[in-house]
């Protein structure tokens, strides 16, 4: 009996390794806060990686489609129930994740006899001004990190994700147009899927642009836009590349 806790720890460690392995090769997702709204971007097969959750909330992610779907549905259920029983203004990303999605993901991850969720997610909440935009990175084990404004990356492996995040923080400084930002995110997407370095040896901008154009040729660039100011309460709009100026 004394060895049981060690078996559990080992099982959880194995589980983490298993999930990371399953997610390897997953197509990264991005969210960037701009003066006019929040841009979410991923490359998938159309309505497969970027989704509207509620009036001011959206989700982007990578992983197994069935698992993304389960979490998306849980978030939509919770948001609409909260909106109906209280008010749409009471639906907040912080509460949705802190008290809803994160505990459920953690519980599921630590129940070693059930299948883990194979997901890495980004969630976004548009605020009245860019400084109040909330970006949230949610991991398969329920761990999460908030950030006000800026840009956020979700990739399948932690190290490339951190490198891409650091590079984008600098590369997007001063860039406010949706077209420019979408272009930079797609360049980053190509570097991540092609395992290009973000430090020394980073391909030139023209190579990166050519790379993402070729890399997305037979796939769908999924773009979601949360507008800061809109006539309707639902701020989300799915965009085409042409609408983003690309």
């Amino acid at each position: 009996m004394t060895e049981e806790p060690y078996r559990w720890l080992e099982a959880v460690a194995n589980r983490r390794e298993y999930v990371r392995e399953q997610l390897r090769g997953g197509s990264p997702a991005f969210a960037a806060s701009l003066p006019d709204g929040i841009l979410l971007l991923a490359v998938g097969s159309g309505q497969s990686k970027v989704f509207e959750l509620f009036d001011r909330h959206a989700l982007a992610g990578l992983g197994h489609p069935a698992d993304i779907e389960k979490i998306r549905q849980a978030a939509i259920d919770a948001a609409h129930t909260e909106s109906f029983t209280r008010a749409p203004e009471d639906v907040s990303l912080r509460r949705l994740v802190s008290f809803g999605l994160s505990p459920q993901l953690k519980t599921n991850f630590e129940q070693i006899f059930t299948a883990p969720f194979l997901v890495e997610l980004l969630l976004a909440e548009i605020g009245p001004e860019p400084e109040k935009d909330l970006l949230l990175r949610l991991h398969f084990d329920g761990g999460f990190r908030f950030q006000m404004g800026g840009v956020m990356v979700a990739a399948s492996q932690p190290e490339p994700e951190a490198a891409a995040q650091a590079w984008l923080n600098g590369a997007l400084a001063g860039k406010n147009s949706r077209r420019e930002v979408a272009d930079m995110l797609l360049q980053t997407w190509w570097c991540l899927v092609e395992n290009k370095p973000f430090g020394e040896g980073l391909p030139s901008e023209s190579d990166r642009q050519e790379g993402w154009r070729k890399g997305t040729h037979d796939r769908t660039v999924e773009l979601g836009w949360l507008a800061r100011h809109a006539p309707r309460t639902a701020r989300y709009e799915a965009l085409s590349l042409a609408q983003a100026g690309l």
């Binding site: 309505q47 989704f51 509207e52 959750l53 509620f54 389960k70 979490i71 549905q73 849980a74 939509i76 259920d77 609409h80 129930t81 909106s83 109906f84 029983t85 459920q104 599921n108 006539p231 309707r232 639902a234």
Partner: protein, 257 residues
Amino acid sequence: MNVETPIAGDFLSLLAAHKLAPLPSTPAPTAPVQTQATTVFAFEFAEGVLMAGDRRATAGNVIVTDRVDKVIEIDATSLLAIAGVPATAFEMARVLQTSFEYYRRSQLQSLSLPAKVRALARLLRENLAMTMQGIGVVAPLFAGLDNSVSPAKPQIYFYDPLGAQFQAVGYVASGSGSGTIRSVLSFQEQYGSPRPSQMKLGEAIRFALRLLMTASEFDSATGGVNPATRTYATIKLLRSSGVESVGDEQQSACLKG
């Protein structure tokens, strides 16, 4: 991870699973009879459907307020005009708003127009107990986009308080001032020039405002329109591109023009 919903995308099922079903009602043997009154209407004009309503709420002979919005945007392609008991009608509007958006977001497609029309009929049927007691009567109008044709065509529907649904041809009105309105609409449709269905936007707005002014002449429960006090109507348009609102400034300009 999810609460099991018997019907995919059905928000009412989700609420029921949480024991949060809306519009709960139990018959009361000595229910008070409340009076309520209004004028709401919709008609086809050259560019789509115009839906309008006065802004007065009454309780008996008391004017409660002249700032109620009785034409409500349910989603980007649906409008509801409420006539009847405000508490029940506004709750129905809220249920529909959440239900339609819940379905669209969860199922990644919009509800069809027939499904939206039936969703409102279902709420009215579920309100039968309150209707029969005379304290929860609602007789709404609904306008939505028929996406089965191209370009999408706005359609108008009306209901009886028990939930029967009917498609309107050209125009429809509801509420205590509707008798006057329907007479004028019928006259204009048969003998007018232009007919409502031929009116351009400015003409349609002016016609709608004059209809409400006429209704308020004969129905004390209809608020009417008074430019002197900047009291205008709630007017919304449904075009093939979706819902738009007509603000006070635009109404004022149309009335002068």
